[in-house]
């Protein structure tokens, strides 16, 4: 039972991550490979605050969100003038830099040893320590994030994001401040990823930089693509599939040493297959294909 709850918590966590990246890459069309960096910023901020200042969870969450949002600003601003594929490289580079910051600022972050014994989340008078309580917290926050994302994409602002994705020149010609919208969506996506980070740190109670690498970013974008770019339910579905299926592998009796590799290999294979055969994913409407002007 605890195992089932654990899996559900992971599904909820990755749904949040996928939704956060879906806003940036699926709705606004800005492919980014640094979502794990924001995830990490969120996790470490919450962990450090909880460990050192013993502040309540919601406060830590807020701090994480603000910090990650700022990081999103830092990435997005200079990247506005860089073209698509080089932009991806830039997010990649940013991801690696953040990883090394987490890994090397040992006095601050514990370096490769990470941070241990992160306290369980303290919400007002309740301390959540069981799986069920944590699942509820994660699902509640997840639902909140889903709602926020939904409001954003169905608003006129969401219309701008869609326009940026489909035809940026047109968006400009129709009087939309494209740069501002791009920066905003990046910041929001980063902030949402930080929520997942906060949850993760509080749940696993131990974090180290290896959870926040480029490979993790690639996993998150795989979930977005497979579930469907441009569809929020797709992100939930994608998280479900990509978390649950490898767990099933456990029952097939894979030797522990290669289980991790098989799981990652599964992600990679699924990514390739979907990109080739169904780039819009299961429920999405965007295949990362820039449509040319004219008929």
């Amino acid at each position: 039972m605890a195992y089932l709850l654990h899996v559900l918590i992971l599904v909820a966590l990755y749904s949040i991550l996928a939704i956060s990246l879906n806003l940036i890459s699926g709705y606004a069309g800005l492919v980014s490979l640094c979502q794990a960096a924001f995830y990490g910023v969120g996790a470490y901020t919450t962990a450090l605050l909880a460990l050192n200042l013993h502040t309540p969870f919601l406060l830590n969450l807020l701090a994480s969100v603000i910090l990650a949002g700022t990081a999103g600003l830092v990435v997005a601003l200079p990247s506005l003038r860089i073209r698509d594929d080089y932009f991806v490289m830039a997010t990649f580079a940013f991801q690696v830099v953040v990883y090394h910051l987490l890994n090397n600022l040992i006095s601050f972050t514990g370096g490769p040893m990470g941070l241990h014994a992160i306290p369980a989340p303290r919400l007002f008078w309740i301390t959540l320590s069981g799986h069920l309580g944590f699942l509820i917290l994660t699902v509640v926050l997840g639902a909140l994030i889903f709602w926020v994302a939904r409001r954003i994409v169905s608003s006129p602002f969401g219309r701008i994001l869609f326009a940026i994705r489909e035809d940026e020149v047109l968006a400009l010609a129709r009087g939309k401040n494209v740069n501002q919208a791009k920066v905003l969506v990046f910041m929001i996506g980063a902030a949402m990823a930080a929520v997942a980070g906060s949850l993760y740190a509080s749940y696993i109670t131990y974090i180290d930089p290896t959870s926040f690498t480029v490979l993790e970013s690639i996993l998150i974008i795989s979930i977005v693509i497979i579930g469907g770019a441009g569809n929020l339910w797709g992100s939930v579905l994608g998280a479900l599939i990509l978390i649950v299926v490898p767990e099933l592998l456990r029952f097939v009796g894979m030797p522990g040493a290669i289980a991790g590799n098989l799981r990652q290999g599964f992600y990679g294979l699924l990514l390739i297959l979907f990109v080739i055969w169904r780039p819009q994913g299961l429920l999405g409407d965007y295949s990362f294909q820039k449509v040319k002007a004219g008929k």
């Binding site: 991806v88 940013f94 690696v96 699924l270 294909q289």
Partner: protein, 291 residues
Amino acid sequence: MQQLVANGVLAAAIYVMVATGFALIYATSRFLHFAHAVVFTAGAYFALFLATRIGLPLAFSVLLALVLSAVLGCLAELVVYRPLRRRGSSPLVLLLSALGIYIVLQNGISMLFGDDLKIIPGLDSGPSFTIGLARVTPVQIVTIATGALCVVATAIVLKTTRVGKMMRAVASDSELAEISGVRAGSVILASFAVGSVLAGLAGVLVALDTAMTPDMGLNVFLMAAAAMILGGVESIPGIALGALLVGLTQHFGVWLLGSQWQDAIAFTILLIALAVRPQGLLGKRAVRATA
């Protein structure tokens, strides 16, 4: 100090090989073939496999490993990229597929060989030389020489040979090239073959010098990409310059800040380069987002 320069130049030699191969592929096929990172790794592991499990003599293993690297690159092109390109997929889509290929292959290597450090045995490298105050092993000297040779050879091939001219034609305008009778598909395949050989070669040389792990390709590739972007995709001397810059700055940064920062330094350089001058130091093609 001189050791730093030597280390920096050594790193630059590796980067320039990987970067030149990558640039060839990027120039003709117009997308970031991320899986190049694992071709580098695969080259080393091919050589390891051939030398240890099959027991071929080292030189032969290396040569065969280069061929296999070329095959690997070409397979990626034929099986994944070409069908996508035929369908009119954007460079972004191709990049995403390349990411998938990287993940599958890197994990494949991990599963087959394990994640532990390995070395390719059978190389009695002899004593290290001392040039000035710097210590370099024979393998390292070979690596630096090979790097330089690759740069010069690639530049010559591109300028003078027929294949090279076709590559340049496809790189500057593939439609025009097609009209002039150049089969872009074959040229792209050739770029993959040559580029992958260069990556595999670099991988083998690194494995002969230091240890190898399945994920070693990632960092080297990103560094090489930094070198390429810094130097400008279209310019071989630019790439060489970029590689030197990345390699030297990395190692000087190491001296100043400590070796754990060596990757972060390189990437910060890349980020600054992308933000300030995306077309590189010597490059011509603009990579700014168009209005």
